[in-house]
Amino acid sequence: MNTAPFRICTLLAALFLLAQLVGCAATPPLRSHEEPPMHTLAEFDDEKIAHVDDPWERFNRRMYTFNYNLDQYLFLPVVNTYEFVTPKFVRTGVSNFFKNIGEICTLYNSVLQLRGKKAATTTGRFLINSTIGLAGLFDPATSMGLKRQNEDFGQTLGHWGVDTGPYLVLPALGPATLRGAGGIAVDTSVHIPLIDEVDLDSQVELGVDTLKGVDKRHGQSFRYFQSGYPFEYSVVRFVTRKKTELAVIK
């Protein structure tokens, strides 16, 4: 499994190259059989609303659709089955368990950003939930007033001034930014050796990874194209971008 970080990095690098090749997607000019509409943007002298630069839009939109199909034919049926066969307290326990492991990611990223208070809170949470919370199945730390913090390597990069980079829709993982994607690659490559330390049987490991994926999708209420709003892609892009920016501020 130690080649995994390498493989993820390779995959991301390939994606970026592909995105570059696909190029940008401005509104195409009129073709011969088309007639100009009554209203175009040229007539308005105003800033754009919720505008986000998207040089890889064509690629991103393709990936957005790909994820929609992946959801329809794979993830959502699996998640629905999971929700059907497991009682709610089990699902909550599973979510808590993976979130507790995720505290490690928040912890080292808080440290890397020299955020002492966040690091202390997160350490406290991890210790309490891993012990009293029975290996993370429960979350007593929150009721003790230790709120869950959220840091990842993408935010760490942002903290030290790395630019957000272009908007990027990742396969399966969904809307992100270039910096966020790099962050995911690093956090994953830290996570994998950690799991390796536990020295699980590879079959079990695969099961745990799968459960983690299912739990993650289960925890996200977002559904591609669910809004029916024709400009959903642009709205999601704007929200993703703003959330990324705000996360670095905090």
Binding site: P37, L41, D46, I49, E57, R62, P230, K242, I249
Partner: protein, 433 residues
């Protein structure tokens, strides 16, 4: 609850209980029409609704053999929500307000409340929602109350055909809010002519009396923008900057209700700005509606005529243009010509007059199966409109002193009133089937 400080929650909860004696002591706490509209009802003042309501999605094809452009590839049909009782029960159809989907928050709340009170519920998107424009509207040009009513009625019949073997229904009722409330009146009238469902109760929640004048009032909200409505983009960006700056300084982690209430408490937004934000929300919805209508009718308004949009094409420019078009432009440049194509000689004035409850007044006046819930400070109505609704339905029009437009929709007392009216058996109405 978890968002508000405890003392505030307790205070808010106690308020309505303190002042039950006089009608003047309505417990919905947010004064200010725009504030109420934006903030809605604090969680602590919402009713406790049944948790596990079995809501499932129905996908309908009310217009068979419909050809959909590729850009709507994700659209598999008209979606609506269905909550089914296991026993014999009345069935309520709900119609959403402008731009609302069948699963909008208010629709889900009312569905749950009605389900808890023993109703089957079918919730329909507003005819202005893109999914309805594409799949439900025969003309694909929303805004005509008679046409929208025919579309809604067809969708209801299609939905009923789909579920009728699964449920036992005693009788039918109808409810809608905002534009959906106005449409409900037209649907009920059409239904009586067709002798189909024969709705026993029709509830109109914060309805418009005349669409055109309500639209005028909503458009006027955008006059609060520095530089006027044509600077809507600049306005949005400046407001956003202000919120981001505020977020930076406060102790916020999530962008949730707590953040929203903090903006309110800190008076970060002026009256004019709050109004303009509401106007902007309407415009964002209307951009989706205009785009769907334009594409479905071959383009030429904001999309080039004959353009075949690919699924990877950027739609940003259409969004930017759509948001900047006023309702008046849509009315004069798109809607009126489309109506004239079907009704030659139709004048602008005649069309405006037809978009009013007044055009079906003989049917509505004193009709015991109707009721309306209205707010004194709802900005989509004029004082004359409010008077008209009182005059039309008498004591079955209830006027709340606060709430703006739909702000008090989820307030306990309001939801109770909705359920209570639809459950009333003491009024003469349609006969049960």
């Amino acid at each position: 609850m978890k968002h508000l400080p405890l003392w505030l929650t307790v205070f808010l909860v106690l308020l309505p209980a303190l002042g039950r004696s006089a009608e003047g002591d309505y417990g919905y706490p947010i004064s200010g029409s725009y504030e109420a509209t934006i903030l809605g009802t604090p969680d602590a003042l919402k009713p406790v609704l049944p948790r596990d309501v079995p809501i499932r999605e129905l996908v309908l094809e009310p217009l068979p053999d419909l050809e959909k452009p590729r850009v709507f590839f994700y659209d598999k049909g008209l979606r609506c929500s269905f909550a089914r009782q296991k026993t014999r029960a009345p069935l309520v159809f709900l119609i959403g307000g402008t731009g609302a989907g069948h699963n909008a928050a208010r629709m889900v709340s009312l569905t749950r409340a009605l389900y808890g009170a023993g109703f089957h519920v079918i919730a329909l998107s507003s005819p202005t929602h893109p999914n309805f424009v594409i799949n439900g509207s025969a003309s694909h040009v929303p805004g005509d109350l008679a046409g929208d009513a025919a579309d809604l009625h067809r969708v209801m019949r299609t939905a009923w055909e789909k579920v009728r073997d699964d449920i036992e229904v005693t009788d039918f009722a109808l409810a809608g809010y905002s534009l959906g409330g106005t449409q409900a009146a037209f649907v009920a009238r059409l239904d009586e002519q067709q002798r189909s469902f024969n709705f026993s109760r029709v509830l109109m929640i914060n309805p418009a009396v005349n669409l055109y004048s309500s639209v005028e009032r909503i458009e006027a909200l955008l006059d609060g923008i520095p530089g006027g409505p044509r600077r809507i983009g600049t306005f949005f960006n400046r407001m956003l900057d202000r919120f981001v700056e505020f977020y930076q300084t406060g102790q916020f982690i999530e962008l949730d209700d707590e953040f929203l209430y903090a903006i309110y408490r800190n008076r970060l937004v002026s009256q004019a700005e709050a109004g303009a934000l509401i106007g902007l929300t309407f415009r964002v919805n209307s951009a989706g509606m205009i785009f769907a209508a334009d594409v479905m009718t071959g383009g030429g308004y904001i999309v080039p005529k004959n353009r075949v949009l690919a699924t990877t094409d950027s739609l940003d420019d259409y969004f930017q243009v759509g948001v900047r078009l006023s309702f008046f432009q849509y009315f004069d440049e798109f809607f009126l010509p489309a109506m004239r194509a079907r009704r030659p000689g139709l004048t602008r004035e005649a069309l405006i007059d037809s978009l009013s409850l007044r055009s079906i007044e003989p049917y509505l006046r004193s009709n015991p199966k109707f009721a309306a819930l209205v707010n004194e400070d709802d900005f989509i109505l004029s004082p004359a409109d409010r008077y008209y609704l009182r005059d039309l339905f008498g004591e079955r029009t209830r006027v709340y002193p606060r709430g703006g437009h739909l702000g008090n929709f989820e307030y306990t007392e309001n939801m109770a009133a909705m359920v209570a009216f639809l459950s009333r058996t003491d009024l003469p109405g349609g006969t049960a089937q």
